[in-house]
């Protein structure tokens, strides 16, 4: 772990100025650049400012008032329970909090010179860099499914136009149609997200096109909150939602866009609407900065989330390899707060405190029906975040309806809280 980096000029000026008034440059506050204005980046930048550190948040989404589109709760848009407008958050609150916002894409990182290159060719110098780039779809991982294919068969795994496209396709589908979903192997953003989406599409079909069917083709046999989802599906969506795990031939091996067909190991499935959630990797700036490994994700140490590959660069949120902690917005926000404190400590010449982190992932499977999985984490002996034994776990199976109602309300409260923390 390296200490704070002061500009050479400042050290020189400081030493020459002994006994005199200190020159202004020696008093310059350390600068942190945060790339990526999602939950991790926005919350990290705001936490840094509260800790007295100058923070610049870099995200092209800040160029317009429409701003960031939140992924959590975007499945509720597909379920007809929310509108896209409810998912949009501008960056005015981030600016009001004292964060400098650069509304441009970051295109490169020079970790030796400690500069981030922006899309307009200018450079932002930093003392420490935090990358929070989220995920990119890995269009090389599933034969037949590239960026052009996603314009026809949406992934909707980044909320925005993709979500709207999928909602429009569901709306245009005749009653009695078949909806297909392809679910990737782990790791990917939001482990229970595909199953929440399946639940809410089934809810929408049941409400608006009751003769239709949803088939979920999954590359795995086990998934997050499985017993809770299966309990809900049995009660709410029999005959509407069918889940096919890997061992029953659920793994999609190829996408035939022109034929509107998903190819599995044993079969071909034709769909009227097809939602392909492809494998993912860290957002592109991670590879450009050299912080992503061959897996496509970013190894970090578990105390301040500094890259194991590039000193002075921290990676938080979905892009990072966080051990037992899942790729969720809740987790990203907690990592952001921990990382901001660690970065502030390092810049002040100190050492970061050993953190404890928490996560809760709620899934809404129907109106007034929520379920959750929680965990508490600490740095473990393997150098990754590890579960604290005895803590966390899923909502009770077979719980009373009042518990499901309460958890749906908790989910909504959490969404209001985290969006206020990030963008309010």
């Amino acid at each position: 772990v390296t200490g704070p980096v002061l500009p050479r000029r400042a050290l020189l000026a400081g030493s020459l100025a002994l006994g005199l008034a200190r020159p202004a440059i020696a008093q310059a506050r350390p600068r942190v650049v945060v790339v990526g204005g999602g939950f991790a980046g926005a919350i990290a930048a705001r936490a840094l400012v509260r800790l007295g550190v100058e923070a610049t948040l870099v995200d092209p989404a800040a160029a317009t008032g429409a701003g960031y589109v939140a992924c959590p709760f975007s499945n509720l848009v597909l379920g007809g329970l929310r509108t896209m407008a409810d998912q949009r958050f501008g960056y005015d609150g981030v600016r009001r909090a004292g964060v400098t916002v650069a509304a441009l894409a970051a295109t490169g990182v020079d970790a030796t010179a400690r500069r981030v290159r922006l899309a307009d060719g200018t450079d932002l110098p930093y003392d420490r860099l935090i990358l929070a780039p989220g995920v990119d779809m890995n269009f090389a991982a599933l034969p037949g499914y590239d960026a052009a294919a996603a314009e026809i068969l949406p992934h909707a795994w980044k909320a925005g136009p993709q979500t709207e496209r999928l909602a429009r396709q569901l709306d245009a589908m005749p009653d009695g149609g078949t909806v297909l979903m392809a679910v990737p192997p782990v790791p990917y953003r939001c482990p229970p997200g595909p199953y929440e989406r399946a639940s809410l599409i089934a809810h929408w079909l049941k409400t608006h096109k009751p003769r239709s069917k949803l088939i979920v083709l999954d590359a795995k046999d086990q998934f997050s909150k499985q017993r809770l989802f299966e309990e809900a599906w049995k009660a709410l969506y029999p005959g509407t939602l069918e889940w096919v795990g890997q061992s029953l031939g659920g793994r999609v091996t190829e996408v035939d866009v022109a034929g509107r067909t998903l190819v599995t190991e044993f079969d071909r499935h034709r769909g009227d609407v097809i939602n392909v959630i492809p494998p993912q990797r860290a957002g592109a700036i991670a590879a450009a900065a050299g912080v992503a490994d061959r897996s496509g994700w970013c190894p970090v140490e578990p105390v301040g989330f500094e890259s194991r590959l590039v000193p002075g660069v921290h990676v938080i949120g979905d892009a990072a390899i966080m051990g037992a902690m899942p790729k969720s917005a809740f987790a990203a926000a907690d990592q952001a707060r921990v990382c901001a404190r660690a970065v502030a400590a390092l810049l002040a010449g100190g050492a970061p405190a050993t953190p404890k982190l928490a996560n809760t992932c709620w899934s809404v499977v129907a109106p007034d029906y929520g379920i959750s999985v929680a965990g508490v984490y600490r740095p473990g002996p393997t150098g990754l975040l590890t579960d604290i034994d005895g803590a966390g776990g899923i909502s009770p199976v077979g719980a009373a309806p009042a518990v499901r109602v309460a958890e749906a309300a908790h989910a909504a409260s959490w969404f209001d809280g985290i969006t206020a923390d990030a963008f309010g």
Binding site: K356, A358, G375, V376, I388, A391, G392, A406, W414
Partner: protein, 53 residues
């Protein structure tokens, strides 16, 4: 969910203890509280009592 910021520290410590040992019914907080010991709970409670920022 009711906001916690500014609640008295002893109230938070008592609630967390009850969530941890299962004597207070919970939907989620029992699962979370079991991840923290007494010293950590006291630190959390002090932070919340101070406004939680």
């Amino acid at each position: 969910m009711p906001p916690l910021a500014g609640r008295p520290a002893d109230e938070i410590v008592t609630a967390m203890r009850a969530f941890r040992d299962g004597s207070r019914p919970a939907v989620l907080m029992d699962r979370i509280a079991r991840g923290y010991g007494e010293a950590e709970t006291a630190a959390i409670a002090a932070w919340i009592a101070g406004g939680g920022r």
